[in-house]
Symmetry: C2
Subunit: 550 residues, 2 copies
C-alpha cells in the first residue's frame, strides 16, 4: 500500500490530537552536524525552564501541519544513503558513528561514541527500519533512559483503523517510546500502513499473527514460505522490530502441561500447536539464519519472544520459561554474527522475590542483550488494576537492568483498552521507568524530581502541575478541592488549610536564615534565642492568614 | 460524649454501605474457646469456596442490624475483666495468651502461642484500647499478613462528620486494617466519637492536632498539661493507637534547613516550631515516661511519628531523618519497660535503591518494633498518580519487613480524597501488601493467586471476577468489551476473539493427556505422533467456534 492509496482511502478518516501538552512547548536542540533534536520545554513561573525527553513527534509542534492521509515528514530520508547494506550494529562494530547515533546522543545527553560503543557490544539497539524514515531515532539499552512500549491493534472482536491511529498518536503524546501493532483479523496490512506512515516512534509487530490469518487461523497450516513472505512484506512497509518466537522448541512444549496457566503467549501457543501437529522443530528455529539475512537488509531489529512466559505467579521462573531463554541466548549470538540487532522479551507474572533472577539469567545467557519485559505483574489477584500490579514489578525489573517496559493497561485480562486506558497505562509506565532511572542513579533523572519538589515546597502550584507527568489530571484534582484561581498562589495546601501549614514553618526558618545572610544551619543554631523571642512577640507570625503575608 | 449524645445528635445522620461484597458472604470460624472469627467466603462455580481475611466488620453481615446512632455491638465487652491493669504486652511477657491473641491466631492461621511470643518480643503489636470494645482484634507485625491503614478526617477546608463515617465504613469494606482520624478544625471530638463507636477496626489519631486547636493553632502556646489532658480525653474515648512525634529534638531541627522540602510532617513541624520558640526539648520528649503510664492504663499503642521524614526524593535517608530514628529507638525501649506496645512510623519519599536501608536501620535501632510507613513514593514527578508511585515503594518496603502500609490516594499533594479515591487507595494498597506477602513467602498468600489464575485459565469468568480484590470493577471492565452474559462462559477472551485463543491450545494438550490417563508430561511425550495425526485429521479442532465445542 502506498501513500497514494492512503489518500484515496475514503473509508478511513482518523482524527488525532495535536498541539503542545499544557504548560510546555516543543523546542529543538541542534547537534554539531545540524540535526534538530526535539525536546519538551516546561516553562516555569520563575522565568526558568526545564526540558524533558520528548516522544510526541511533530504532533505537538504547532508549526507543523498534520495530514494523516499523506503521513509524517520523512525525517530520515537520505540518512541511509551509502550505507544501505549495513545495519546500525554493523557500522557500530566498524567504528562508524551514524546520524542516528548522533541524534540519540543529543537526546540522551551522552557522547556519540558512548552510543556507538553500547550498540557495538550488543548492549543497546536502535530500531530503525530504513523504510520507516518518519520515525525519530531512539535507543533501547540498560545504560540509557528506561523506555516504555504501548501496544495497539484492532482485534477480531472490535476496534477500527481510525481508533488505532488515534491511540498511537495519543500514546506517544504521553510518552510511549515505541508502539507495537498487534492487529489481528481483517485489514492488518492497511492498519499497519496507517500507523507506520504516521508514527514518530519505532513500530514493532508479531509477523506470525498476519501469517496465521493467511492460513485461515490454522497454525498447523503455517509454513516457512508463508511466514517469510509475511516478514518481507512487513520489512518493506517499514516495521522497525519484530517479535519472533523462535525459542519454542518441540521438547519444551510438554514442560508447560503441568502449569497452572499453561501457555499464555499467543505467538508461543501458535508455535507450540505447530510443533505438536508436525512433531518437528518450528520453521522459525530451523530457518533462523535466513531470517537474519532478511532483517539485515532493512536493519530490522529482532525482539526474540518469550512464547513460554509464565501466565501466573505459580508458573514464574519454571523450567519451560528458562529452557526457552537458553535457546533465545543461542539465537542472539547467531543474529549478532549477521550484524542484526537483538532484544529479548521477558515475563509476564513474577512475584517480587523472583524478579532479579530473570534479569541476571537473561544478561548471562544473551551477553546483555536489551531486556524487554511485559510488567511483570507482582500478583494475580487484582484484575482491573493490572497497570498497578505490573508497575510494581516493572519498576523493579527496570532498576535491575531491563531496558524497555511493555505497558499494561487497567483492561489487561478483561478487555481491550480505550483511549483513557491507553493514557493511564502510559503514565503508569512512565512512573515505573522513571523510578527505575532514579534507582539506577541516572545522572539526570533526579533533576526532574527536584524541580517538581521545589515548586511544591515553594507553593508554585502551576509549576508543580506543569512539571507533572500528567499536568491536566494534577490540576483538575487540585481544583476539585480548591477551585478558586487564587488558590493556585495560596501558601497552603488543602490538607491543613489556610490557618496552619507545616511547610510554612520551614519557610520561615529558612527566610530567617536568609535575612541574616548566614549559612542556614549556622543561622538557626546561632539565632535560636532571637528566633524564640521573635516567635513570642509576633504570636507566631507563621499562622497569620495568607492575605496578610508579604 | 456518650452514645446517648450520639442518638440525640439530630444534626448528624451518616449513611453507610452495608451488605456483602459481590460474589461473597460473611462466615464465622469458631475458636476452641468459642470466639467467632469472621472471614469473607467467595463461592466458586465449581461448588468449592475460598475464604479470605475480612476487615469489614458487621456491615457485610446481613444478619446484623446496623444503627450508626447507637454504634456497633461491643464485641470485646468484658474481655478485659480481671486484667484491667495490664497490657497485651504485659500479659504476653507473663506467658498469658489473651482472648485477643486467640482471636488473632484464628484470623492469621497461626498458633496462639506464636502470637503471644511475637507480642512478647515487641515484634508485633495488638492495638486494642479497652474503651474501644467494638473493634475486632488484629495484629501488626512482620511475621503476619502485611496490614494497611486508611486516613480519614475532616479538615479546616471541608468535609463533614457524615462523610468521614461513611468513608471509614467504605475503607474497611475494601480492606483497611486500621483507620486514622486526622480531623482538624471544628468538631474533632465529635467526629472521632462517631468513628470510634462505629469502627470494626482499630482507630489511630495524632493527639497534637486536637491539642493545637485548644491553643488557637499557635504551637508555641502548647504545653505538657494541654497535651496530657488531650491524650487522656482520647484514651477515654477509645483511641487504639496514637502518633507521638517525641523524636523531634531541638538539635535536629536545623538539620532540615538545607533540605529541598524541609519539614513536611504536620506534627513534626508543630514540634519543631515549639522547640524553636522555647529553645528547649519538647514536652513529648521530656515527659515521655509519664505518657507511657497514661497509655498503659488503657493499653493504647504508641505509633512513634517520624516528624522529620523526607518530603521529596532529594531529602530521603538524610541526617535529619536518621537522627530522629535513633531517638525513636531509645524511646521504644523506654515504652517497652512500661509494658506499652510500640510501632514506628517511616517515610515518605524514597527512591527504590534507598528503601532497604530504612527497614534495616529501623529494625536495628528499635529491636524490630513493627514498622509503619507512608508509601514511600518512589518518585515525585507524578502528582495525581501518587497511589501508584507510592505502591511501588510500599510493595518493596513491605517485602523487606514493614508490618503496616499507610495508604496514599490519587489526591495526595493535591486535595482531599473523595469516596472513589478512598477505594482506589485501599485497593492499591491491598495489592502492595499482598505482593509483599507473596515475596515474603507467606504460607497462604499464593493460594489466592492460584485460585484466581486457575479460574482465569479455565474461563470461569465469574469466579475470576469474584476472586478479584475489586469484583465490581473487574466485571464492568469485561462487560465494556463483551457485554453479553453468554460471554461470561465463553472459552475465549477479548484479546484474541472467538476464532483463536492461545489458552485453548494448552487446554487441548492437557485434555489429551487426561483422556489417556497418563501423567500429562509423559502423555505428550509418548503421544506426540498420535496428537500430530489427530491435529491433521480434525483440521485443528482447537480453532472450531466455541458453540461447536463439547
Amino acid at each position: 500500500m502506498s501513500l497514494t492509496t492512503l489518500e484515496n482511502d475514503a473509508t478511513v478518516t482518523p482524527t488525532v490530537t495535536t498541539g503542545p501538552i499544557t504548560g510546555s512547548h516543543k523546542v529543538y536542540h541542534r547537534t554539531e552536524s545540524g540535526l534538530r533534536v526535539p525536546a519538551r520545554r516546561i516553562d516555569l513561573s520563575t522565568g526558568d525552564h526545564f526540558d524533558v525527553y520528548d516522544t510526541s513527534g511533530p504532533y505537538t509542534d504547532p508549526d507543523v501541519t498534520i495530514d494523516v492521509h499523506s503521513g509524517l515528514h520523512r525525517l530520515r530520508a537520505g540518512w541511509a544513503d551509502g550505507r544501505e547494506h549495513n545495519t546500525q550494529l554493523g557500522w557500530a562494530k566498524a567504528g562508524v558513528i551514524t546520524r542516528e547515533m548522533e541524534f540519540i546522543a543529543a537526546r540522551e545527553r551522552v557522547s556519540p561514541e558512548f552510543v556507538r560503543d553500547e550498540v557495538a557490544r550488543g548492549r543497546a539497539v536502535i530500531p530503525v527500519n530504513r523504510r520507516h524514515p518518519e520515525s525519530e531515532p531512539m535507543i533501547i539499552g540498560k545504560n540509557f533512559l528506561v523506555k516504555i512500549n504501548a501496544n495497539m491493534g484492532n482485534s477480531a472482536v472490535w476496534s477500527s483503523v481510525e481508533e488505532e491511529v488515534d491511540k498511537m498518536v495519543w500514546a506517544t503524546r504521553w510518552g510511549a517510546d515505541t508502539i507495537m501493532d498487534l492487529s489481528t483479523g481483517k485489514r492488518i496490512h492497511e492498519t499497519r500502513e496507517w500507523i507506520l506512515r504516521n508514527s514518530p516512534v519505532p513500530v514493532g509487530t508479531v509477523p506470525i499473527y498476519q501469517a496465521l490469518e493467511k492460513v485461515d487461523g490454522e497454525p498447523e497450516k503455517l509454513s516457512w514460505e508463508v511466514y517469510r513472505d509475511t516478514v518481507i512484506e512487513q520489512c518493506e512497509q517499514g516495521v522497525d522490530y519484530m517479535t519472533v518466537h523462535a525459542g519454542v522448541l518441540l521438547r519444551y512444549v510438554p514442560l508447560t502441561a503441568r502449569r497452572v496457566t499453561g501457555i499464555v503467549s499467543r505467538g508461543g501457543s501458535i508455535m507450540a500447536a505447530w510443533c505438536l501437529a508436525h512433531h518437528r522443530e518450528s520453521f522459525l528455529y530451523t530457518h533462523f539464519a535466513e531470517l537474519c539475512e532478511i532483517l539485515k537488509q532493512y536493519d530490522v531489529t529482532f525482539s526474540l519472544g518469550d512464547g513460554l512466559r509464565p501466565g501466573s505467579i505459580a508458573d514464574a521462573n519454571d523450567r519451560a520459561q528458562f529452557a526457552e531463554l537458553e535457546t533465545l541466548g543461542e539465537l542472539t549470538h547467531i543474529a549478532r554474527e549477521h550484524d542484526v540487532q537483538v532484544m529479548i522479551e521477558g515475563p509476564g507474572h513474577v512475584p517480587m522475590h523472583k524478579i532479579k533472577e530473570n534479569v541476571e539469567l537473561e544478561e548471562q545467557l544473551t551477553g546483555e542483550a536489551p531486556f524487554y519485559t511485559l510488567g511483570p505483574l507482582a500478583t494475580d489477584i487484582a484484575p482491573g488494576y493490572d497497570h498497578i500490579t505490573s508497575a510494581i514489578g516493572a519498576a523493579q525489573i527496570g532498576w535491575y537492568g531491563t531496558a524497555m517496559l511493555c505497558y499494561v493497561t487497567p483492561k489487561e485480562h478483561l478487555g481491550l483498552p480505550n483511549r483513557d486506558d491507553v493514557k493511564t497505562g502510559v503514565i503508569t509506565y512512565k512512573i515505573a521507568a522513571h523510578a527505575a532511572d532514579l534507582a539506577k542513579g541516572h545522572p539526570y533523572a533526579q533533576e526532574w524530581d527536584d524541580e517538581l519538589s521545589k515548586a511544591r515546597f515553594e507553593f508554585r502550584w502551576n509549576d508543580q502541575f506543569n512539571l507533572a507527568l500528567d499536568p491536566d489530571t494534577a490540576r483538575s484534582f487540585h481544583d476539585e478541592t480548591l477551585p478558586a484561581e487564587p488558590a493556585k498562589t495560596a501558601h497552603f495546601c488543602s490538607m491543613c488549610g489556610p490557618k496552619f501549614c507545616s511547610m510554612r514553618i520551614t519557610h520561615d526558618v529558612r527566610r530567617y536564615a536568609e535575612e541574616h545572610g548566614l549559612s542556614t544551619v549556622e543561622a538557626i543554631e546561632a539565632g535560636m534565642q532571637e528566633k524564640s523571642a521573635e516567635f513570642g512577640a509576633k504570636g507566631g507570625q507563621v499562622y497569620l492568614p495568607v492575605v496578610e503575608r508579604p
